[in-house]
Symmetry: C2
Subunit: 233 residues, 2 copies
Amino acid sequence: MPKKLYQSVFDGIVQRIVGGGYAPGMMLPSEFEIAGEFGVSQGTARKALIELEKKGIVERRQGKGTFVTLRTPENSLFHFFRLRDENGNQVVPDLLDEKIRKREATTREHERLFGQPEEVFEISRVRSFEQKPLCHELSVVSVSLFPGLIERAPLPNTLYVLFQQAYGCAIISARDKLTAKPAGAVIGAALGVDPEVSVIAGSRESLDLLERVIELRDSVYLTDNVHYSVVMD
Amino acid sequence: MPKKLYQSVFDGIVQRIVGGGYAPGMMLPSEFEIAGEFGVSQGTARKALIELEKKGIVERRQGKGTFVTLRTPENSLFHFFRLRDENGNQVVPDLLDEKIRKREATTREHERLFGQPEEVFEISRVRSFEQKPLCHELSVVSVSLFPGLIERAPLPNTLYVLFQQAYGCAIISARDKLTAKPAGAVIGAALGVDPEVSVIAGSRESLDLLERVIELRDSVYLTDNVHYSVVMD
DNA sequence: GAGTGGTCTAGACCACTTT
DNA sequence: AAGTGGTCTAGACCACTCC
């Protein structure tokens, strides 16, 4: 039995979103309509919608309505690309190079990725900012979750937009583990810097709205002109 | 024009906290009592309390009451010390060395710190984890906000606990800017590592519950056995 | 059992956006 | 003017904590 009413309304709406009933960017029914459909009061429907908004699953705007969050290049960068310039402004990088291939999953990838895939796509990218190399990213996703991904190359600048719009998979949270290390020969060559240069290495797990691990991403950032921004509250 | 009612209740409670009417750790009146004092309904008082909880200013526990957030070494580390070990567990460091001195504020410190101080305390610390040097921290705070701080040496492991309990100044949020660089001669010597070793350098601004910049802190982390953890959602 | 916060209801009115 | 989310009220009952 569903314990809290607003929780079952929350779950019901999530189900409709993952099932495609509510498409990305689509307007949801009003609070009163949702309340009617689930047989609860408007205040309870409201609480479910507020929880959905807190999780980033929907967006609400007074006078307009409630909408399924649409991943755009802008909000994808803002939420998940944490590099900022000296003044704290968002860094919007360019894509310099991209390689994508299919390969067997490593043990760690098999264990961590949702669906325990045997095969994965590996997407290697080099990004630049103001004509200078900025970072190297190595993304790994399950082949079975993203069939035909390799035929879509070149991929758009922001992967999460593609994941949502082409595969209905919405990334809503991510966890980075950051360390400092020398760039090394391979990454150094890819970024055009000395192998001894210090870089931030970020190891990420990206989760969808059912909190499944969809992507593993290893990033390397040059921080000469930018920094990785963290807000704690 | 009249503000939002729950906002004025929120502000009223914040005032009582900064003014000392509600001390750290103290239990607040119940929702109904607060509603009565401010002349609003219980639901409106409730909304104000929920907002206070979201900001980390109070903590609510069903069946017990609402309490002014008490900064403890545990929650201070958990919220503001982002280093985790390989398994994602909180790193609890030891204090190896501490130096504190009074000096003139730099231009940047004068501009950024609340109160535009001419004089500051500079607290330099070296921390270790599992018998190995872990990080170097350089904290700077206004002399006028923390009179007599230098006489309190040696300071407790977690500064924010002292700030709240001895000076009534509650740090509730912080922003870190992270870069990678070589340790350098001075920090390398302090940490007992080669000057060429890559480290994460973190530049922090710490804010109190009125969003005033209370502390500037430059940290240097060795990330051989730990990482800096970031959660995005 | 008394007191607390947590959930839920039913209704009113306000503020904003669009037609 | 119509429709949306945002605020506010007044009351009921539930779940948890402590005596």
